[in-house]
């Protein structure tokens, strides 16, 4: 065996490291497959939803029914327009620079969220069993 000093150990950690190994393909495939399985599990366990809640900085602003199509701005946020259509909901327009909320598009499954960070707004689709914020709501509104 080769004699190894401390310096040699450190160097050997970084030396002769290949950019890519044949086995990498299997690791990456397995990881992708696991992610896909997770994805399908998530989408299977979520049925259709009929309500969404709109929050500002985590505090509930309003509850929206997804059964009736509508277009509105949440109270106090005229810069944002939210649209409900065919049981789905989305940020139709917003004045924020990144437009990430608008690009999220329609959401309709329980647990899905669309978030507008610059305006501190979020839409969350509720699962049918889930109520709106009641008890938990108290802490979020403190001091406002």
């Amino acid at each position: 065996m080769k004699h190894e000093s401390k310096g040699a150990v450190l160097r050997s950690t970084f030396e002769n490291r290949p950019l890519f190994k044949r086995k990498d393909v299997w690791v990456l495939t397995a990881a992708t497959a696991a992610a896909l399985v997770l994805f399908f599990l998530f989408s299977c366990f979520s049925g259709r939803a009929d309500t969404a809640v709109i929050r500002s900085e985590g505090t509930q602003l309003m509850v929206v029914s997804l059964k009736e199509d509508a277009e509105f701005s949440p109270p106090g946020h005229e810069e944002v327009v939210i649209q409900v259509s065919k049981g789905r909901i989305r940020f139709l327009s917003s004045n924020c620079p990144d437009q990430i909320c608008v690009r999220t598009g329609f959401i309709s499954k329980p647990g899905q969220t669309a978030v507008c960070l610059p305006n501190r707004l979020s839409i969350e689709v509720l699962s049918p069993s889930e109520g709106t914020d009641t008890v938990d709501d108290v802490t979020g509104g403190a001091g406002r």
């Binding site: 450190l10 160097r11 050997s12 950690t13 970084f14 030396e15 490291r17 290949p18 950019l19 890519f20 190994k21 086995k23 990498d24 690791v27 990456l28 990881a31 992708t32 696991a34 992610a35 896909l36 997770l38 994805f39 998530f42 929050r55 985590g58 990430i100 690009r103 999220t104 499954k109 647990g111 899905q112 969220t113 978030v115 960070l117 979020s122 969350e124």
Partner: protein, 174 residues
């Protein structure tokens, strides 16, 4: 702190910022879900980690987050910090593994995925609990973007080596 360390930190920060600016200039692809980014500045962090020193990688990631904090506010800065620190920690730990010795590609992918997970953790803790739905999307995007950044690092390595004085100090001789 040595003057050399300070100037290097500044240089790497400048590179990281320039790369993330470059990334911003790329046209947004409509089919990409939000939050999925290339993460070009990770190339600089990886260069520091793989070829210079672990503390320099942490320093670069920290400074980058500080810059995001100044430019885009507290929340974005905090998410960037969470993602960056987790990413460097994971890559640093995995690169110490001797058996199996992971390839640069896998290290890069691990870094990209853990960066996404760190940010997601921030969103989970601070904004909404229902973001877990997004985990698979971010894993897959981390895998793809991690592969791309590893390849880009390979391509950019000669250019980074040309910076005066770097090659001499690298952990492995070029």
């Amino acid at each position: 702190m040595k003057v050399q360390t300070i100037t290097r930190g500044a240089l790497f920060l400048a590179m990281a910022i320039a790369l993330s600016y470059l990334e911003m200039l790329l046209p947004p692809l409509p089919f990409l879900p939000p939050g999925v980014k290339l993460g070009l500045s990770n190339i600089v962090v990886m260069y520091c980690l793989f070829f210079l020193s672990t503390p320099m990688a942490f320093l670069t990631a920290l400074l980058k987050s500080l810059f995001v904090f100044l430019m885009r506010g507290t929340i974005s800065g905090l998410f960037s910090l969470l993602g960056g620190m987790l990413s460097v920690s994971v890559m640093a730990l995995l690169s110490r593994l001797r058996r199996p010795r992971l390839s640069y590609l896998l290290l890069s992918v691990a870094g990209a995925v853990s960066h996404n997970m760190g940010q997601l953790m921030g969103v989970y803790l601070m904004l909404t609990k229902e973001i877990l739905f997004y985990v698979p999307v971010l894993i897959i995007s981390g895998i793809i973007m991690g592969c791309l950044t590893a390849l880009l690092l390979k391509v950019l390595l000669p250019a980074l080596r040309r910076v005066k004085g770097f090659a001499k100090q690298e952990r492995r001789s070029p």
